[in-house]
């Protein structure tokens, strides 16, 4: 009887403990959101979103150039990376043989796991050094290298999910393979592919390390792809480690803007994709 009570007690304690673990980890997200909303919310004003930064020591100004600069470099990264990733995914799902498919898949996974600072070194070597200057192009290139592997794998995954019957039906009607892919398979998988792309872009929007020595920074509006350009994550870093209270305030505001954008994109993507795993398991 004693033994059973002991086992039941252990059962109750351990299961409660696991519940507490979940509570703790989930609440961290709310703590993060809470701090950012509280500190960032009282710091965001119209100036922050529209004005250029003021010299250190002067209160006010904003990070409008960093917001635009980030959009610019993420745009360049997406422009370079999404088509390559998409086509690569199509290749893996529709055409690849066993060995080449394995190699490409493996390389994409490899690239995906590379720390972003190392990607920054590569972008520096490939773009900054030959161009002799820091540039938005170098920053965008670094970001594209991170978008490609995410896009390749997600595109491939969603294309493979399209039932064979759909493909075979179209082929049976006499359509050439490329037409089948373009007009039947891809549209069928388009929801997943698009959300994969969006998630990839949202992920690189928050990256700081690869921009540190590729795009450097700029106090003014972006004025060319070959010029150093401000980016929101880099501004947050520099402002956070500085001694100016006003810069700290702006760092919180920038953090809120960045986090809102990233979380909103993620939530939207998941909502589009639909139900979670539990519902499908039954």
């Amino acid at each position: 009887m004693n033994r059973l009570m002991y086992r039941k007690a252990v059962n109750y304690v351990m299961l409660t403990a696991t519940g507490l673990c979940s509570l703790l980890t989930v609440s961290i997200l709310f703590v993060i959101l809470g701090y950012l909303v509280y500190n960032g919310g009282k710091s965001i004003d119209w100036d922050f979103l529209t004005k250029l930064p003021l010299p250190p020591g002067q209160d006010g100004g904003g990070m409008a150039n960093a917001i635009v600069g980030s959009a610019l470099m993420v745009g360049v990264g997406a422009l370079l990376g999404l088509p390559v990733g998409f086509m690569g995914g199509v290749y893996l799902a529709e055409f690849a043989g066993k060995t080449l498919g394995f190699v490409v898949r493996y390389m994409a996974d490899l690239l995906n796991g590379v720390p972003s600072i190392v990607i920054g070194i590569f972008a520096w070597s490939a773009i900054v050094v030959p161009m002799h200057s820091f540039s938005a192009l170098a920053g965008g290139f670094a970001l594209s290298m991170m978008i490609v592997p995410i896009t390749v794998r997600s595109t491939e995954q969603f294309l493979l999910n399209v039932p064979r019957a759909l493909r075979e039906g179209a082929l049976a009607l006499g359509a050439p393979k490329w037409k089948v892919i373009a007009t039947v398979v891809v549209p069928a998988a388009s929801k997943g592919i698009l959300t994969g792309m969006i998630l990839g872009v949202a992920r690189v929007a928050g990256e700081t390390a690869p921009l540190l020595f590729t795009a450097l920074n700029n106090d003014f509006w972006p004025n060319g792809l070959n010029q150093p350009t401000a980016a929101l994550p880099v501004m947050i870093y520099k402002h956070a480690i500085s001694p100016f209270d006003d810069w700290h305030r702006q760092a919180w505001a920038a953090g809120l803007v960045l986090l809102t954008m990233v979380l909103a994109t993620n939530i939207a993507a998941r909502w589009i994709m639909g139900r979670g795993i539990s519902a499908q398991k039954g």
């Binding site: 200057s133 450097l216 106090d219 001694p243």
Partner: protein
């Protein structure tokens, strides 16, 4: 679920518009005979340089100078690589560096002071330190705030029984060079140990990037001490709990860093680049220094050359007037005169 395509397409459209808009803003400023230049280097004078470039842009619209203070080391590297139009450094270049950077011209801009800044909220009076104490702290020989060596200089001050945490630079820094040069002059142990340099082997402590980073680290963490330009401690916007130590100079007085004491330190200088640390002048702050812009002697683009020459001229007259507002000392007359004469050398 049918409406999901519209928001995505809308989002993509907004993104592309942003990209196009960003390109257009560049073109718009280009229309007004604009010159846009990039510079990098010392974070020591970054405070005043950014103000100058901002003021200059307000009075000369279209001339945009983007200055990024990554440290004197980065400035020299970028100038040598040709990735910036000009650079800034607190330290003189070696002959090899000058050759690699194609013999840039030194243009001193202001005098500043490297202060020993610390964060001790419970200590209300500024601490006094001798050069030996400063060296001892940064050599990690003096490890607690209430160490007898500090206490005997500050009788009547209640020092806390806390560990001293040193903060230094992680990047190649002219500020580090000036500070270590001073320490090497006053402490044989320092000279034999870490020595002088834009980076040295620190016995320990925290590192952070650039002057603002070190200032931020000291401000955020009680019990820390580090070396930064005096403006970060004097300017109320960045000061917080930070205070600076009064250092015993070569003529035996405890001097606090200020525009006046830095000016005294530089008052005997006739030429540049030159070192004015551990100056024997009465009332001079012992860790003062000039800081320089490194301008290429040959500038290919005539618009950039004109803009740069215009700025330097302005800097040597108007700029000097605004320097004390941000706690930098204007140049002494002999140095200023030589600076102005050098403007003619710009080709």
């Amino acid at each position: 679920m049918k409406n999901w395509k519209m928001p995505i397409l809308l989002g993509l459209a907004v993104l592309s518009l942003a990209v196009v808009a960003a390109g257009q803003t560049g073109k718009a400023t280009a229309a007004a005979k604009a010159v846009s230049m990039n510079a990098s280097g010392a974070s020591f004078p970054e405070f005043i340089y950014k103000k100058w470039f901002s003021d200059y842009k307000n009075s000369h619209p279209g001339i945009e100078i983007n200055y990024q203070g990554g440290g004197s080391g980065q400035g020299i590297k970028d100038l040598t690589a040709g990735s910036v139009d000009f650079a800034a450094s607190d330290r003189p270049l070696t002959d090899a560096e000058l050759a690699a950077a194609k013999q840039p011209l030194y243009f001193p801009t202001v005098l500043g002071a490297v202060v020993v800044a610390y964060n001790l909220p419970s200590v209300k009076q500024p601490l006094k330190m001798t050069p030996e104490v400063v060296a001892g702290i940064f050599l990690l020989k003096i490890t607690k705030w209430n160490d007898p060596k500090i206490a005997e200089l500050n009788k009547g001050v209640k020092l806390p029984d806390d560990d001293i945490t040193v903060v230094h630079r992680t990047d190649g820094s002219g500020t580090t060079f000036v500070f270590t040069e001073y320490l090497a002059k006053v402490s044989p142990e320092w000279k034999a140990g870490p020595g002088t340099g834009q980076t040295v082997k620190w016995p320990g402590g925290l590192g952070q990037a650039q002057n603002p980073g070190v200032a931020g680290a000291i401000k955020q963490n009680p019990g820390t001490v580090g070396y930064v330009e005096m403006t970060y401690v004097l300017d109320p916007k960045s000061r917080g709990n930070m205070a600076m130590a009064a250092i015993k100079n070569a003529s035996g007085e405890f001097v606090t860093a200020s525009v006046a004491s830095a000016t005294l330190a530089g008052s005997a200088a006739q030429d540049f680049p030159t070192s004015i640390t551990n100056s024997p002048i009465k009332g001079a702050y012992p860790i003062s220094t000039f800081t320089y812009l490194l301008i290429p002697s040959k500038i290919a683009d005539p618009d950039k050359k004109a803009a740069l020459a215009g700025f330097l001229k302005w800097m040597l007259v108007e700029g000097q007037k605004t320097a004390p507002e941000l706690f930098y000392a204007p140049l002494p007359k002999p140095v200023l005169a030589k600076d102005q004469a050098q403007l003619a050398k710009l080709q």
